[in-house]
C-alpha cells in the first residue's frame, strides 16, 4: 500500500488547501509537496530495486474495471522513478517560486498545483495503460486552469489551444491502446491493460500492418504532447502565457509525458511499426532542432525563446529515441531528466525577472549581472546546462542522443543495428551550434552588457516593494538545489545510466532482429546479424 501514499499525499494536500485559508495555502502546498518529495526519496532508497530495472516489489492492484482488466497498478522501474523524482523535486520548487507571483485566488492555485502533481505521478507510476492515460490526460485540467486564471494577457487562447490540441492527439493514443487491448482479448480471451502484458502481446503477436497503425496512433498523441515538429504550435503560446510555476511544470515534466510515452509504450509495443517510421520521426526531430534553433535566434521575448528551445531540445530526445540503440535511448532518458531540470530552472529565473520588471522583452533588459549577480550566476549555470556544456547535466543526454543516432547504422557491430546513421547525427549536431548561439545571445543581451531596465517604474510598484533587487533567500533556495543537481548529474551520471540500462534493454528487446530484417528489405544486410532472424521478421 505504501506506493499509494505518494499519490494520496498531493491529493490530500489539495483538499486541505481547498479548505484552508488564503494565507496558509502556499505553506500547506509547500509542505505537502515537500512531503511528497521526501516520501519519494524514501521509497527510492528503501526499495532500490528500481535501479536494476525492476518494479516495486509489491505490485498491488486495485481493480477498477476489473472485468476489463483495468486495474490501478502502481509501480516504478528506473525510468519511471527518475521521472517521479523529477516531478517531486520540481514541484516544491515551482510552488515556492510562485509565492510572491500569485496573489489572486491563491487557494485555487495551489490546490490545482497539487492535483497536477498527483496526476503526473499517476501517469509515471501507473503500470496500467488506462491509468497512465488517466494521469496523462488529467494533467490538462489543472494546467488549463493554471494557464487561464493566472496566465498572461493571451491566457484564454493559450489554454484552449493547449487543451484541445493535446486532447486531440491523445484520443488517438487511447484508440491505439484500446485496439491493442482488444486484439489481446481476441487472441487470449482475457482483458488486460497491464503494460507488461500488452507490450509483450503487441510486439510479438500483431502483424506488421497492425503494428504500424498502432504506432501511428500512439505517436499522434505523444507527438503532440512532446511536441514534435509540426505539432508544436500550442507550446510557445502555452509556455509563454502560463504563470511561472505552470511553465516550470509544463516544460519540466509535462513534455516528458510525451517522450515517456514513446519510450514506455510506442517503441516497445510496435517495434515493426516504429522501425518503419524511424526515418520519418528522426527527420522531424532534426527539423525541430534546426528550425526551432533558428526561430529561437530571432526571439525577443525570453520566455518564448526558452519555450521554443524546448521544442528544439525535444528534437534531440526524439533523435535519441529513434536511434533505437542503448546509447540513444539512454541519452533520451537522460535528456528528459536534464531538460526538466535546466529548462524548469530557466523558467524560474525568468519568472523572478518578470516579477521584478514585469517584462520579458530582451530589448528592455540588459546587463543585469551588475545589478543582480546572484540571479545572473544561476542564469548562466542553467543556460550553460541547456547549451550542453560537458560537466553539467545537459551534455550527458545531448551527447548520447546524437551519438546514438550517429552509430545507428545497419552494420553496427554493437549488436544493435539501427536505421539512422551518421548523417542524421551530423545534421542534428548543427543544433549544438545553434543552441549555443541563441542561448548565449540571450545571455549577452540580458546578463552582460550595460545595465538596461524598462522605462518608467510605474509597473513595478506592487512587486518591487516586496522583492529585493537581487534574489532573496527563498529564491536562492529554489534555484540552488537545481544547480546542485545539474552539477552532480553532469559529473556523476553513472548511477542514473546504470539504473536506466535494464529498462533500455527491455525496450529494445525486439529491435535488433526486426531492424536487421527491415534493413535487409532495403538491401542493407548486416554482416554481423545472427542467421536465425529471417523468420522472426515475419
Amino acid at each position: 500500500m505504501i506506493q499509494y501514499l505518494l499519490l494520496l499525499l498531493p491529493i490530500i494536500s489539495a483538499l486541505v488547501i481547498a479548505l484552508s485559508s488564503q494565507r496558509a495555502a502556499k505553506w500547506i502546498a509547500l509542505i505537502g509537496s515537500t512531503a511528497a518529495f521526501i516520501a519519494a526519496t524514501l521509497f527510492a532508497v528503501q526499495f532500490p530495486h528500481w535501479t536494476t530495472g525492476n518494479f516495486w516489489p509489491d505490485l498491488n492492484t486495485t481493480p477498477i474495471l476489473g472485468n476489463f482488466g483495468v486495474d490501478l497498478k502502481i509501480g516504478v522501474d528506473s525510468v519511471s522513478m527518475l521521472l517521479v523524482l523529477l516531478t517531486v523535486f520540481l514541484t516544491p520548487l515551482a510552488i515556492a517560486g510562485s509565492f510572491s507571483a500569485i496573489t489572486t485566488r491563491v487557494r485555487e492555485y495551489y490546490a490545482w498545483f497539487m492535483i497536477l502533481q498527483a496526476s503526473m505521478l499517476l501517469a509515471f507510476m501507473s503500470r496500467d495503460l488506462i491509468f497512465f492515460y488517466v494521469g496523462y490526460e488529467f494533467t490538462l485540467i489543472p494546467m488549463f486552469f493554471l494557464i487561464s486564471i493566472w496566465g498572461g494577457p493571451m491566457r484564454g487562447p493559450a489554454a484552449i489551444k493547449f487543451f484541445i490540441f493535446t486532447f486531440l492527439g491523445s484520443v488517438f493514443t487511447l484508440t491505439a491502446v484500446i485496439f491493442v487491448a482488444v486484439r489481446h482479448f481476441d487472441s487470449t480471451g482475457t482483458w488486460t491493460f497491464a503494460i507488461a502484458d500488452l507490450v509483450k502481446f503487441s510486439s510479438t503477436q500483431l502483424s506488421a500492418r497492425e503494428q504500424f497503425w498502432v504506432f501511428v496512433g500512439l505517436m499522434t498523441g505523444f507527438a503532440i504532447k512532446t511536441p514534435f515538429f509540426p505539432t508544436h504550435a500550442w507550446l510557445p503560446l502555452a509556455h509563454d502565457q502560463a504563470p511561472t510555476g505552470g511553465s516550470v511544470i509544463l516544460a519540466g515534466i509535462l513534455l516528458k509525458l510525451g517522450t515517456y510515452g514513446v519510450f514506455r509504450f510506442a517503441l516497445p509495443m510496435a517495434p515493426i511499426g516504429a522501425i518503419e517510421c524511424t526515418t520519418f520521426f528522426a527527420i522531424l526531430g532534426i527539423i525541430a532542432i534546426l528550425y526551432m534553433g533558428l526561430v529561437c535566434w530571432v526571439q525577443t521575448d525570453i520566455k518564448k525563446l526558452i519555450a521554443y528551445s524546448s521544442v528544439s531540445h525535444m528534437g534531440f530526445v526524439v533523435l535519441g529515441l529513434f536511434a533505437l540503440n542503448p546509447i540513444g535511448l539512454q541519452g533520451a532518458v537522460m535528456y528528459m531528466v536534464n531538460h526538466g531540470l535546466s529548462t524548469g530552472a530557466l523558467f524560474l529565473c525568468i519568472g523572478m525577472i518578470y516579477e521584478r520588471y514585469h517584462t520579458k522583452d530582451m530589448e528592455q533588459l540588459g546587463g543585469l549581472v551588475s545589478k543582480m549577480p546572484v540571479w545572473s550566476f544561476f542564469m548562466i549555470i542553467f543556460t550553460l546546462s541547456s547549451v550542453g556544456l560537458p560537466g553539467l547535466n545537459g551534455f550527458v543526454g545531448e551527447f548520447l542522443c546524437l551519438m546514438g543516432a550517429f552509430v545507428a547504422e545497419h552494420d553496427q557491430p554493437a549488436g544493435y543495428p539501427g536505421v539512422l546513421g551518421p548523417w542524421y547525427a551530423v545534421v542534428a549536431a548543427i543544433g549544438l551550434i545553434l543552441g549555443a548561439m541563441y542561448l548565449l545571445i540571450m545571455l549577452r543581451k540580458i546578463v552582460w552588457g550595460t545595465l538596461r531596465e524598462p522605462h518608467g517604474d510605474g509597473h513595478t510598484e506592487h512587486a518591487a516593494s516586496e522583492l529585493p533587487t537581487d534574489l532573496n533567500f527563498r529564491e536562492i533556495a529554489i534555484l540552488a538545489p537545481i544547480a546542485v543537481a545539474c552539477l552532480v548529474i553532469g559529473l556523476y551520471p553513472k548511477p542514473l545510466l546504470n539504473a536506466v540500462e535494464p529498462c533500455v534493454k527491455e525496450v529494445l528487446v525486439n529491435y535488433p532482429a526486426a531492424i536487421d530484417a527491415f534493413n535487409a528489405k532495403r538491401g542493407l544486410v548486416n554482416p554481423s546479424a545472427p542467421v536465425k532472424q529471417a523468420e522472426t521478421a515475419k
Binding site: 560537458p390 559529473l491 548511477p495
Partner: protein, 725 residues
C-alpha cells in the same frame, strides 16, 4: 603493448556506494595514483574562489589561492616528470565513473566507457609542464595586474582562471575522448567567461560569445570525430584505441575511417584558431591581458595541436590528412601575418601573430615533425606569453592604451625598463632571430617542410620562410614604435580601474583624447609583474636548450617525450632528406634564408618604424593612391573582410532564415495549419447552420431528405458491395 598502470574500479551498485568508491579512488594510491591531485588543486581553487566571489572578499585572497593551487599542481607535475623521466610508460588513474555503461559486456562496441580517468604519458606531461608552469606565473602576474578590481571582479577573474586550468589539465590528462571533450568545452567556457570579464563593454560580451560559438563549430567536428572513432574502433579510450590501432587496424581505412582525421582537424582548427575558424581569436583580446597571455597565446589555443598530436596515429587514416593540416597551417601562418602587419592595436598584432605561429605548429604536425610542432608550442608559449604580459604591463600603465601610434620610447619611461627589454626578447624570439629559441623551433618545422617530397611541402617551406620575414617585420614594428624612439605617450580611452563605474553612461568624463600626456602619470609595474616577466624571459631562454641539442644532433628531452607518446607511435615521421635547393640541403637553406628573413624583416621595420616613421605613412598613402594596388592595405587593415564575409554568408542567411521560419511558424504552421484545422469544425458547422432555420416544414423536409439520403446510401452500398441481405 603499452604498459599501463590502471587502478580499476569496482562497479558501483547503489549511488551512495558509488560516491564512496569514487572518493576512495581519488585518494592517492601508493604508486602514481596521486596524479589525480593535479586536477584536484585547481578544482579546490575553483570552489574557494567561487566562495570568495559569493562572500565578496575584498582582498587579494582569491588571487593567492589560485596561485597556490596552480603552484601545487605544477609541483606535482614536476614530481611526476622527475619520477617518470622522459620516456615513462603511460599512467592511467581511474578517478570515478562518468558516462560509462555497457550493454552485453565490456567489450569494444558493447559499452561506452568514458570515465573521469587520467592518462598521463610524456605528451601529456609536456603540455602539463608549461600549462601549469606558465599558469602559475601568469596568475602571479595577474594578482598585481588585476588589483584594481579587488573586491569587484577579482575573485571572479581568478575563478575563471582556475576553471581554465582545471579544464585545460582535464583536456590534456583525459583518458578518453569524451573526457577530453569535457576539457575542450571547459576551456571554451573559461575563455568565454574571461573574455567577457569586462562585461559592461558590449564588445567584450560579444567577443566572448563569438569565441564560444565559433569554437562550437570546431567542437562539432571533434564530436563527430569521437563518434566516428567509436563506430570504427568501438572504444574511445586512448589506451585501448591505440592498442586496437597498433594491433590490427593500422593504415588507411574506408570512407568512415578516412573522415576521422578531418573531423578531428576541424576541432583542432576551431580551438587553435586556424584558417576558416580563426576569427574569434583577435576579438578575444577584449579579455584582460593575462587571460590573453595564458589562454589565447600560451595554452588553450595549443589544444588543437595537442589534439592532433594525441591522435596522431589516426591521421594516417587518409593519405592527404596530414598534408591538409600542413597546408592549412601554412596558409594560416602567412594569411594572418599579412593582417598582423597592418594592425595598429598591438595586442591584436600579437593575436594575429599567435594565429600565425599556431599555423607553423600545424605545419609542423602536417609535414611530420611532431617534435617540431610541440617544441614550437613550447617556445611560443613562453615568448608569446612574455609579449602579451609586456603588452599587459603597458596597458596597465597607460590606461588601456593599445594603439602603437600613440605610444613611443617607453624604454626611457621610468619603470618600464624591464617591460621594454623583456619585450625585446619576446620580439626577437618571435621574429626567429638567429639562434634564439624561436628560430630553433621554427627551423625544425621548416627544415622538415623543405625536405618534403610530395604534397608540395617544399612550397610550404618557402611560405614559412616568407612568413618568417613578415613576422620579424610586424614584431619589430611594434617594438620600434612602442619601446624605441622618442618618448611620447597618450593614455588609453578607458582606465580599466573603474570599469565598474558608469564612466561611459553620461559622458561626464572629459573627452579622453583631450587628456594629454602631461596630466597623465603612467602606472609602472611593480615586483610581481616585473618578476614574472623576468622569469618568463629566463624561461624563454631556457626553451632554447632542446633546440641547441637537436641542432647538434643530440637527443633531447623534448624529442624523447614526443617520441614516446602517441604523437610518435607508428606515425609517418619523415626523416630529413638531402633534397637540394639552390645547392643547399634543407638545413643550410633554412639557416641562410631564415636568418636573412629575420634580419631583413627587422631591418625593414627599423627603417619604417624607428628611423623614418613618416615613410610608413607615405608608403601607405602611396599604396592607397594607386587604384590597382590600393586594395592591399585596405584589405589587410580590414582583416581581409573575413568577418564581414562570415557575417554576410553565414550569419546573415541564417538570421534571415530565422526570421522567415519564425514568420512561417507563426503564420503558416500555427496560423494556417493549426488554426486552420481548428477552424474546420466550426466552418463545417456554419455550413450546416442554414438547415436549422426554425421552420417546421424546413425541418420536416430536411429530415425526410436526410432519411432518403441515408436510404440511398444504403442502397448504393448494397448494390456495389453485393454483401448482405
Amino acid at each position: 603493448m603499452i604498459p599501463m598502470l590502471s587502478i580499476t574500479d569496482t562497479h558501483a551498485d547503489s549511488p551512495a556506494h558509488a560516491v564512496v568508491t569514487a572518493i576512495v579512488n581519488a585518494i592517492p594510491s601508493p604508486e602514481l595514483g596521486w596524479t589525480g591531485l593535479i586536477l584536484l588543486f585547481p578544482a579546490i581553487s575553483v570552489v574557494l574562489t567561487g566562495l570568495c566571489c559569493a562572500l565578496r572578499v575584498k582582498s587579494k585572497l582569491p588571487g593567492w589561492i589560485t596561485v597556490l593551487a596552480l603552484a601545487g599542481s605544477f609541483a606535482l607535475v614536476l614530481k611526476l616528470y622527475f619520477l617518470r623521466g622522459d620516456a615513462g610508460a603511460p599512467v592511467v588513474v581511474h578517478l570515478w565513473d562518468w558516462m560509462n555503461f555497457s550493454w552485453g559486456n565490456q567489450d569494444k562496441w558493447h559499452s561506452l566507457q568514458a570515465d573521469v580517468s587520467v592518462y598521463v604519458d610524456s605528451l601529456t606531461l609536456f603540455w602539463l609542464l608549461f600549462v601549469t608552469g606558465l599558469g602559475t606565473l601568469i596568475a602571479i602576474y595577474a594578482t598585481e595586474y588585476m588589483e584594481a578590481d579587488v573586491g569587484k571582479g577579482y575573485a571572479r577573474f581568478f575563478n575563471g582562471v582556475s576553471i581554465f586550468i582545471l579544464a585545460m589539465c582535464t583536456l590534456v590528462m583525459a583518458d578518453n575522448l569524451i573526457l577530453m571533450y569535457l576539457g575542450w568545452e571547459g576551456v571554451g567556457l573559461a575563455s568565454y567567461l574571461l573574455i567577457g570579464y569586462y562585461y559592461k563593454k558590449p564588445a567584450a560580451a560579444a567577443a566572448g560569445q563569438k569565441a564560444f560559438i565559433v569554437n562550437r563549430i570546431g567542437d562539432l567536428g571533434l564530436a563527430v570525430g569521437i563518434w566516428l572513432i567509436w563506430v570504427n574502433y568501438g572504444t574511445i579510450e586512448f589506451n585501448t584505441l591505440f592498442q586496437v590501432w597498433n594491433d590490427a587496424d593500422r593504415g588507411v581505412g574506408g570512407f568512415d575511417k578516412a573522415l576521422i582525421p578531418y573531423c578531428l582537424m576541424l576541432g583542432a582548427f576551431g580551438k587553435s584558431a586556424q584558417l576558416p575558424l580563426y576569427v574569434w581569436l583577435p576579438d578575444a583580446m577584449e579579455g584582460p591581458t593575462p587571460v590573453s597571455a595564458l589562454i589565447h597565446a600560451a595554452t588553450m589555443v595549443t589544444a588543437g595541436v595537442y589534439l592532433i598530436a594525441r591522435t596522431y596515429p589516426l591521421f594516417t587514416l587518409h593519405p592527404d590528412a596530414l598534408a591538409t593540416v600542413a597546408w592549412v597551417g601554412g596558409l594560416t601562418a602567412i594569411f594572418s601575418a599579412t593582417i598582423g602587419m597592418a594592425q595598429y592595436d598591438f595586442k591584436r598584432v600579437f593575436a594575429y601573430s599567435t594565429i600565425s605561429q599556431l599555423g607553423y605548429m600545424f605545419m609542423g604536425l602536417g609535414v611530420g615533425t611532431t617534435f617540431g610542432a610541440a617544441y614550437h608550442t613550447l617556445t611560443h608559449a613562453f615568448f608569446k606569453a612574455l609579449l602579451f604580459l609586456t603588452a599587459g604591463a603597458i596597458m596597465h600603465g597607460f590606461a588601456g592604451q593599445l594603439d602603437l601610434r600613440k605610444l613611443s620610447g617607453l624604454r626611457k619611461v621610468p619603470g618600464f625598463k624591464i617591460v621594454s627589454w623583456t619585450m625585446l626578447i619576446g620580439c626577437l624570439w618571435l621574429s626567429a632571430f638567429p639562434y634564439s629559441a624561436g628560430m630553433l623551433s621554427k627551423d625544425v618545422i621548416l627544415v622538415q617542410a623543405l625536405s618534403g617530397k610530395d604534397h608540395g611541402f617544399v612550397w610550404l617551406g618557402w611560405i614559412g620562410l616568407i612568413t618568417a620575414a613578415m613576422t620579424a617585420y610586424y614584431a619589430f614594428r611594434v617594438w620600434f614604435r612602442v619601446c624605441a624612439g622618442p618618448v611620447f605617450y597618450m593614455p588609453g580611452e578607458e582606465s580599466h580601474d573603474d570599469h565598474d563605474a558608469h564612466h561611459d553612461d553620461h559622458g561626464a568624463h572629459a573627452d579622453p583624447t583631450s587628456t594629454t600626456s602631461h596630466e597623465f602619470h603612467p602606472h609602472a609595474p611593480r615586483w610581481a609583474m616585473n618578476g614574472v616577466l623576468l622569469i618568463i624571459m629566463l624561461g624563454a631562454f631556457a626553451t632554447g636548450i632542446p633546440g641547441y641539442m637537436e641542432m647538434r644532433g643530440e637527443s633531447n628531452w623534448a624529442q624523447v617525450m614526443m617520441a614516446h607518446s602517441s604523437a610518435f607511435a607508428g606515425s609517418v615521421q619523415a626523416h630529413v632528406t638531402d633534397a637540394v635547393n639552390f645547392g643547399m640541403n634543407p638545413h643550410q637553406l633554412v639557416e641562410v634564408f631564415g636568418t636573412a628573413a629575420s634580419l631583413g624583416g627587422i631591418a625593414i621595420a627599423m627603417y619604417f618604424h624607428l628611423l623614418q616613421r613618416k615613410s610608413a605613412d607615405k608608403l601607405r598613402a602611396w599604396l592607397l593612391a594607386h587604384n590597382s594596388i590600393r586594395w592591399i592595405p585596405v584589405a589587410m587593415e580590414n582583416k581581409w573582410y573575413v568577418d564581414e564575409f562570415y557575417h554576410a554568408c553565414v550569419r546573415g542567411p541564417a538570421w534571415i532564415a530565422g526570421h522567415i521560419l519564425h514568420f512561417t511558424d507563426k503564420h503558416v504552421v500555427d496560423g494556417l495549419m493549426v488554426n486552420g484545422i481548428g477552424r474546420i469544425p466550426a466552418a463545417l458547422g456554419r455550413l450546416f447552420q442554414p438547415l436549422y432555420n426554425g421552420v417546421l416544414q424546413g425541418y420536416a423536409t430536411t429530415m425526410a431528405g436526410g432519411a432518403a439520403l441515408v436510404v440511398a446510401w444504403v442502397v448504393y452500398r448494397w448494390l456495389t458491395s453485393g454483401v448482405g441481405a
